[in-house]
């Protein structure tokens, strides 16, 4: 864990360096597509006079290059064939660089797989003197008892969600306040370590440096939940190609994230198996004629399946749209049921507001919101990512919510555990840093 802790710190420094250079790349490694956006940071002076403030930081940057490519070698949001994925990343990065006409060296990546698991941590300390200092916050964070996250797993996000000072809770920033006991709640997201190592390796092989890593469930929540939903409590369901990410937000903090290892590609493979057609044809049929609600009209709408076998009977097959829906619906239902189970397990029904936002490429199936509201509850809407400057029209769809969210994450990351000072007692006993720290504190 300390290993990734150190590398997360290094990544933060890298991100700062990239911000200074003004150009950073965003890489969304998905199962069905790899998207690369190139952001240029102009600083806060680029604001127009339209009376809109800096908001979530999305006004401080501009997308100057965008490219997507079909993903290869990625399954369930994890890299399964390194060389193929590397080539796909190279394709996307090169096309985006060409569009931006600038070279990028730093990249912030997100991925959806690696079996994220959420843990709630609590830590509590007695304050040394009555005023809360940064050092106290650091001590409180390091006092959190870390659960056994399992062999070979790493911490991806560790965000302090809440601070409590004596009997007062819900503090955002306790520094400078007076009290005796500082308690903190932290949300920790652990993932499979080997997946992260693979991604690190893949990005290194593309001559890029990783300046940040995020869970795509988290970042698509940032971009597709509106502010009051994040504040009052909402869940973002990011239905991707190979996995469906779930993230629950309240008070602008993510408190739970999970992923279901099923997505749009499974629907496609069902169609492929059911109709005995290649995956590409199945994908085309799904996107062109897909749906989840069959009506009488759909019985009459015949779809040419086509084929290249040379057998006239096979190549001239036609199916009705109802049949197609009959294939798709059970799988979509299965995914949503699984999401429901996860949300129930997380205690989503205890939140004050139970808004559910569906986003991601697979959420574009017509009629999905109707089906989802039957399974997940009444308050379901389809979400699209926030608008950011310079994003091409083709990249504003819900399939790009995690890419856009990653832009916001790059511009304005939430404080994580490694952004705080290191608690003094965590330094090695004979460290020179400890001496320096002692001098800094006492002189």
């Amino acid at each position: 864990m300390t290993d990734l802790y150190q590398s997360q710190r290094a990544m933060r420094n890298m991100r700062r360096a990239a911000m200074q250079r003004g150009v950073i790349a965003i890489l969304d490694i998905g199962t069905s597509k790899i998207a690369c956006l190139i952001l240029r940071f102009d600083g806060p002076s680029a604001m127009g006079d339209d009376g809109v403030g800096p908001m979530a930081g999305q006004s401080s940057f501009r997308v100057i290059g965008a490219a997507t490519t079909k993903s290869r070698g990625v399954r369930f949001g994890e890299i399964s064939v390194m060389a193929e994925t590397e080539r796909a990343v190279r394709t996307a990065v090169q096309a985006a660089q060409k569009m931006a006409n600038v070279r990028v060296d730093h990249v912030i990546a997100c991925f959806s797989g690696a079996e994220p698991r959420s843990y709630g941590l609590a830590g509590e300390i007695e304050l040394e003197d009555s005023v809360v200092t940064e050092q106290d916050v650091a001590r409180a964070l390091s006092a959190c008892d870390v659960p056994d996250i399992g062999q070979g797993r790493e911490v991806l996000h560790a965000q302090p969600v809440n601070f409590a000072l004596d009997h007062r809770t819900g503090l955002g920033d306790p520094r400078g306040q007076i009290g005796n006991r500082l308690a903190t709640d932290m949300h920790l997201l652990s993932i499979d370590g080997t997946v992260v190592q693979n991604i690190l390796h893949c990005i290194q092989r593309c001559d890029l440096e990783l300046a940040g890593l995020a869970s795509s469930a988290y970042v698509s929540g940032i971009s597709s939940l509106v502010e009051d939903e994040q504040e009052l409590g909402a869940a973002c369901i990011d239905m991707g190609g190979g996995s469906t990410g779930i993230s629950v937000f309240i008070k602008k903090h993510m408190i739970y994230a999970d992923s279901v290892r099923m997505g749009g590609d499974h629907v496609t493979s069902d169609i492929s198996k059911g109709l005995m057609v290649p995956m590409a044809v199945a994908e085309r049929i799904k996107t062109k004629h897909g749906g989840v609600h069959a009506t009488g009209m759909d019985d009459r709408e015949m779809i040419e399946v086509g084929g290249d076998s040379g057998d006239w009977e096979k190549d001239r097959r036609q199916i009705s749209r109802t049949e197609l829906i009959g294939i798709m619906r059970p799988r979509v239902e299965e995914i949503l049921e699984e999401v429901r189970t996860r949300l129930d397990a997380a205690g989503f029904d205890h939140l004050p507001s139970q808004q559910i936002v569906l986003t991601g490429g697979a959420s574009q199936i017509p009629g999905l919101d109707g089906l989802a509201s039957r399974i997940l509850g009444q308050r379901v809407r389809l979400g699209r990512p926030l608008r950011v400057q310079g994003l091409p029209q083709a990249a504003t769809g819900s399939a790009f919510s995690s890419a856009v969210g990653l832009c916001l994450f790059a511009a304005h990351p939430q404080d994580e555990w490694w952004d705080f000072e290191i608690a003094t007692e965590r330094y090695p006993a004979r460290s020179l840093k400890r001496v320096v720290k002692w001098f800094k504190d006492n002189w």
Partner: protein, 297 residues
């Protein structure tokens, strides 16, 4: 007839990914420093290297410079640039000859080879010339327009008589005074430096002009007016014109200069002093009853 082999379209390239090297080259090309080096540095280096290599050989250098000089020569010696004639305007024939001699141009000559400024300076060294304008006119004519100096005074020195213009600059020498009886005469060391004052004095002395023989500069600071009958008017250093005007007024009232005096000394402003001739002095003393025992003074 139908071909037995099916005509299939060329297989699609499934993988649009760039090769590792293509990817790296593109990134290298997008590096600003590299771009500048490649676009500016490399061409300028190649250019400098080529020029350097070509010019490294001395024979080649000479050939190039010789070629350039030859082209330049041929252009300058075209007939439309040749000057064949010098025309001198505004000068007497003798002066014109002197000017031509002074120019010393071996005509015909290309107008590029004539240094007009130097030629003008050479001409202006002639004393008789106040100002000279040189211009190359069409038709191969070098036109020299000359303004001559006008003599205003004669200056008698030990060497001879010089003519001076009103600024005191020498115009020419003169054989004898009789050649220019119309010009007034001045003498004395440094007289040419005060010609303006001399001319003012002569203008002021208009009423007694027929009697004036000339002006003498004394001690390079003041003037004496010499009249006939060896009379002298000694003028002060400061404001000599006013003093002379006062004397002329006195002369018109009392006919002072017609009397038997040697000199009128005006050097002290409030007290003009007369130096009487010996006879007049004796007469005066006799009238005053002073016996000078036969002395002349």
């Amino acid at each position: 007839m139908q071909s037995l082999t099916a005509r299939r379209p060329a297989p699609l390239r499934r993988d649009p990914a760039p090769s590792r090297w293509a990817y790296r080259m593109q990134r290298l090309w997008l590096t600003p420093v590299f771009r500048v080096l490649f676009r500016v540095g490399l061409p300028s280096f190649v250019l400098a290297a080529t020029v350097g290599l070509v010019l490294a050989d001395a024979d080649r250098r000479d050939a190039i410079s010789g070629g350039i000089a030859e082209i330049r020569d041929r252009f300058e010696n075209r007939p439309e640039f040749m000057v064949a004639l010098v025309s001198v305007e505004g000068a007497s024939p003798e002066l014109a000859d002197a000017v031509r001699m002074r120019l010393g141009l071996k005509l015909p000559l290309s107008s590029f080879d004539i240094d007009l400024d130097a030629a003008r300076n050479r001409i202006q060294e002639l004393d008789a010339i106040a100002k000279a304008d040189l211009a190359v006119r069409s038709g191969g004519v070098l036109q020299v327009t000359i303004t001559e100096r006008v003599p205003a005074l004669l200056w008698r020195t030990e060497a001879g008589i010089e003519m001076l213009d009103e600024t005191g600059h020498r115009v020419a020498s003169l054989g004898s005074r009789a050649d220019r009886p119309d010009l007034p005469l001045i003498a004395g060391e440094g007289a040419d430096a005060a010609t303006t004052e001399a001319l003012q004095l002569l203008a002021a002395a208009e009423p007694i002009l027929p009697r004036i023989r000339g002006l003498v500069r004394v001690g390079m600071r003041r003037w004496d007016v010499v009249l006939d009958r060896n009379q002298r008017i000694l003028l002060p250093q400061d404001r000599p014109v006013a003093a002379l005007e006062r004397l002329i007024a006195l002369n018109q009232a009392n006919d002072l200069l017609g009397r038997d005096i040697f000199a009128v000394d005006l050097r002290t402003e409030h007290r003009p002093v007369l130096r009487l001739a010996p006879y007049a002095l004796n007469q005066l003393r006799a009238a005053q009853g002073i016996d000078t025992s036969g002395s002349e003074l």
